[in-house]
């Protein structure tokens, strides 16, 4: 039995540490710790609610638009501003293109090196790689000459002895199972994906001036004007370029990402048996063009909302969300360690060891994340949750996509609840989103062509037109990593309290007061570890969730007392 610490967990956003007990070559216990905290919600208290999205956006620079969107939705919910259709279209275009960008970057640049050994690609036969590539895709960059060039480039790089970010990778690890030709294919697409993502994300610059951190959201609308007769607004040129980029996205997903995913998955069938975790799933639902309903997640969109426990589907009820601070570096009351978000007290209380340290005291507080619970139960959120909830709800787009993928791989539906299942679910929803993005561009074009140039609800811009006294708002969003919600209390036109309950907090959170683990902690149990000095298998399961720790570890409920009063009113 050995205690193994992995810190830093790399190829993620932010700072994640895991401590696991390995017994007989298998993980028997796991503890997930987020080791960085800034306190952004605390910083928001007292400020103009119209500024909140800019602050909240900086929660994360990877999923750079999700917190901006959840934030404006929360403030709009509180003050009664209704974004017009154009604004809803623009927001969804940005969100949908982030989705595709984020999932592609995750697959190639954050996750692929867990399955792909580039050093093995040196032994590849570029001719055979080309034959393989052409057999699974009509991607034009699949010629022998191109693969030869990539292999030569890789060879020179590796033999130079100075391999930069590839230094000390677990190359040659027995868990790498891909044929050299597939490794060359995947590494070649690692480089292509770098170029693709840089171009594709220009959608955010066209609509919001820059990426990361596009600067275009407003409480009540969006700041990018629409006018077919102006060269200083989103016009026909912009729409044409958007359509080109969106089309390129569809092609990259269908010609590169998905074929690669299936080619890699085929070599690792046992990974449908590892990493299952909790088996409880939550999705809020999102991506509808309908106007928002107060206090509720967007319904009837591309992704349905719902809860899946013990295989049973139920609708999501916002009132059942709570968070436990029992094992988190925040003050808690032993009598009531788990509280609904609006009543939470998250005053920092760092009781961990003073650095430098070797181990955390996992019997006490051991992370900057709280443990979100739904009806007292830990839930997995993210692509897998969305695909399973959508399938259970009989969604007309998700159900056939999931069924076709299972048939193609020749595995039962239960195989989805696994490390590899998460990877597959992410690919499937990327394809759905890629096509939905094109629908959005067309809807925007039609709406503008019809003469609607409205981008904001200017009646609610001036805070003097907001409801007086105190008002509550919540903004729900399905971010690439899962169900995201921002909760705001506004008092006399200022932020009185702000809280975000974030996908990676749901997934990477610690045990609760009853000792029940979070999704990462549960999923790692049973993961094999062949070589404790090179814990490649642990990274596979962790990366299948796509951790985003700056997102997760920012929680700070500034003023629990006031919120409590609001709730009992």
């Amino acid at each position: 039995m050995a205690r193994l610490v992995i810190d830093p967990v790399t190829r993620i956003e932010g700072h994640l540490r895991v401590e696991v007990i390995v017994d007989g070559g298998v993980v028997t216990e796991a503890y997930s710790s987020s080791t960085m905290w800034r306190g952004i919600e605390k910083i928001l208290v007292g400020r103009d609610p119209r500024d909140a999205w800019l602050f909240a956006q900086r929660i994360c620079g990877v999923c750079t638009t999700v917190h901006a969107l959840a934030s404006v939705r929360a403030v709009e919910d509180a003050v009664g501003a209704v974004p017009p259709l154009n604004a809803r279209l623009l927001r969804q275009l940005i969100a949908a293109s982030l989705f595709l960008h984020d999932h592609v970057v995750h697959f190639y640049h954050l996750h692929a090196l867990d399955w792909v050994d580039p050093t093995s690609a040196l032994k590849a036969d570029p001719g055979r790689t080309a034959v393989l590539a052409q057999s699974i895709s009509d991607y034009p960059r699949s010629t022998k000459a191109l693969f030869t060039a990539v292999r030569d480039r890789l060879e020179k790089f590796v033999t130079s002895g100075n391999i930069g970010p590839f230094t000390n990778g677990y190359w040659g690890h027995p868990a790498y199972r891909l044929d050299p030709d597939v490794n060359l294919l995947a590494f070649s697409h690692y480089l292509d994906a770098l170029e693709f993502q840089r171009d594709y994300v220009r959608i955010h610059a066209l609509l919001g001036g820059k990426n990361p951190h596009p600067q275009t959201y407003l409480v009540g609308g969006m700041a990018s004007p629409l006018d077919p007769n102006s060269q200083n607004a989103i016009n026909d040129n912009t729409l044409q370029e958007l359509a080109r980029l969106v089309q390129r996205g569809i092609e990259f997903v269908e010609q590169v990402y998905l074929p690669d995913l299936y080619a890699i998955a085929a070599a690792y069938p046992e990974w449908t048996r590892y990493g299952k975790g909790l088996g409880s799933y939550l999705a809020f639902g999102d991506y509808t063009l309908s106007a928002p309903e107060k206090g509720k997640p967007p319904a009837g969109g591309l992704f349905p909302g719902g809860v899946l426990v013990d295989g049973k589907y139920r609708p999501f009820e916002p009132g059942k969300v709570s968070e436990s601070a029992f094992h988190s570096w925040y003050r808690h009351d032993d009598a009531k360690p788990s509280l609904p978000p609006w009543q939470g007290d998250t005053t920092p209380d760092y009781t961990g060891p003073q650095p430098p340290f070797d181990q955390l005291d996992v019997a006490g507080k051991y992370t900057w994340l709280k443990a979100p619970r739904y009806d007292g139960r830990a839930m997995e959120v993210g692509p897998l949750a969305r695909m399973l909830v959508g399938h259970a709800a009989g969604d007309k787009r998700i159900t056939p996509a999931v069924d076709a993928a299972l048939q193609r791989l020749g595995v039962p539906a239960s195989a989805l609840m696994s490390t590899l299942g998460r990877v597959l679910a992410r690919g499937l929803e990327t394809q759905l989103m890629a096509h939905y993005t094109l629908e959005l561009v067309n809807r925007l074009r039609d709406n503008v062509a019809g003469g609607d140039l409205t981008i904001a609800d200017n009646t609610k811009w001036d805070p003097r037109n907001w409801p007086g006294g105190r008002s509550l708002g919540v903004g729900f969003h399905e971010a690439p990593r899962g169900a995201l919600s921002h909760w705001v209390v506004i008092e006399d036109q200022r932020i009185r309290n702000y809280q975000a309950v974030v996908p990676s907090t749901w997934n990477a959170g610690p045990r609760d007061e009853n000792g029940n683990p979070g999704p990462y902690e549960a999923a790692l149990v049973g993961t094999p570890v062949v070589d404790p000095d090179r814990p490649l298998e642990i990274l596979r399961t962790l990366h299948s969730f796509d951790p985003c720790m700056a997102c997760a570890a920012h929680v700070y409920d500034g003023d629990g007392q006031i919120v409590t009063k609001v709730l009992v009113q």
Partner: protein
């Protein structure tokens, strides 16, 4: 504004070739599959970005051909990885060229293959020789050291360790350069900028939220070409990127001078690209080259997309430039631009005296509401939103 370094740097570029090294940048670029033609195109683009005379392009190429690619250790502390994402959008050179040869990026948690001890070993090996570049993203929490640990070590410890023997520090983004959002009031973790922790090493501050990838790659190339960082202002920001006020280089300046302003989101003026001052633009108090360089392959920048500048390259902008939709005070709208230029001069004078005086000190009415309770208790002013500043909270004070 022409940097004083430029003349000196030009001389250096013309100097005879240094002694041949084992593996030069030219070798590594060749290894990385960068063709000679692409390399020369890239050198020409760099000369433009760096505001060097065009005739220097061949000299830059000659100098670059002879240097070794530097070991780079990229540290992430209290960050959002936005600067890393910006780096991944590099176009010239591309990210692939950077990763596979132009620099030797031996430690970068977001992209590196190794994890845990193997990652720490890669970092420690990179540091042993010295002469490396340290890129820092994110601020350092000195109030709660446990608020940022990696491998069980504090951010401060790691920063001190990594910068010992370093050739230079490149702070990417406003958090490492000036404290950024973690240091915004009330600065819950006592977050500070890098220069509050370490010194004695050349430092360049590439502020911005996030850093502009073109400015980062240009700084790296300048360093490779001339062996030193570009000339900077008193805040350590390169003059080639932060030498001019946004307001002075803004394509909408003509509308400002003509008194043409967008008044509401989506109104005629907004659609026609009129000045965004009345919707809160902070361009008159912000130094950055966004108007000329743009973001994402030069596609756009915030004002071009219709939203005012928020001043993200300035120290304490989260406190001094908020509320973001309030109007900068002291600007006589519809009058001449005299008073706005005075604001600009005020900024220049203030920044020139160093970090102790912050950018908009001369024009911003400071409030001393130190506590959250006081701030929360304040009522919004009657009438249109007023531009006011939060108290500064450096080092958690």
């Amino acid at each position: 504004m022409m940097s004083s370094c430029n003349a000196k740097c030009a001389d250096r570029a013309a100097e005879p070739d240094p002694a041949p090294e084992a593996r030069t940048l030219a070798d590594r670029l060749d290894d990385a599959g960068v063709s000679r033609r692409r390399f020369l195109t890239f050198c020409a683009a760099m000369v433009t970005t760096l505001a060097l005379p065009e005739r220097l392009a061949p000299r830059v190429a000659a100098a670059l051909s002879k240097v070794e690619s530097p070991v780079v250790v990229w540290l992430e502390f209290q960050d959002c990885a936005g600067d890393t994402e910006a780096f991944l959008r590099s176009r010239n050179p591309s990210t692939a060229d950077l990763l596979l040869g132009l620099i030797s990026l031996d430690y970068h948690e977001t992209v590196m293959a190794a994890a845990g001890r193997a990652a720490e070993k890669a970092r420690d090996n990179a540091l042993t020789k010295g002469g490396h570049l340290v890129v820092v993203e994110g601020s350092v929490p000195t109030g709660i050291p446990g608020a940022c640990t990696i491998g069980g070590r504090s951010a401060e410890d790691l920063l001190r360790d990594a910068t010992r023997g370093a050739a230079g520090i490149i702070n990417v983004g406003t958090c490492s350069a000036f404290g950024g959002i973690p240091a915004a009031g009330p600065n819950p973790t006592g977050a500070v900028r890098v220069e509050d922790i370490v010194g004695g090493v050349p430092v360049v501050n590439l502020s911005g939220c996030p850093v502009n990838a073109d400015n980062l790659t240009a700084t790296i190339v300048h360093y490779l070409t001339f062996g030193e960082f570009p000339a900077t202002d008193a805040l350590g920001r390169p003059l080639f990127a932060y030498g001019d006020r946004i307001h002075d280089t803004c394509p909408r300046r003509g509308h400002f001078d003509a008194g043409q302003f967008a008044e509401q989101w989506g109104d005629e003026g907004h659609r026609k690209g009129w000045c965004l001052y009345r919707l809160g633009c902070k361009g008159p108090s912000t130094f950055h080259n966004c108007p000329s360089v743009g973001y994402n392959d030069g596609t756009s920048w915030p004002i071009a997309a219709g939203h005012g500048c928020v001043g993200c390259s300035e120290p304490n902008f989260w406190d001094d430039m908020t509320p973001f939709y309030g109007r900068l005070p002291g600007v006589q709208v519809g009058d001449t631009n005299l008073s706005v230029d005075q604001i600009g001069l005020g900024v220049l004078a203030a920044t020139a005296t160093g970090f102790a005086l912050h950018g908009v000190g001369k024009v911003v009415q400071h409030r001393r509401a130190a506590s959250r309770e006081e701030r929360a208790a304040e009522q919004p002013a009657a009438g249109p939103p007023q531009f006011t500043a939060w108290p500064r909270n450096r080092k958690g004070q």
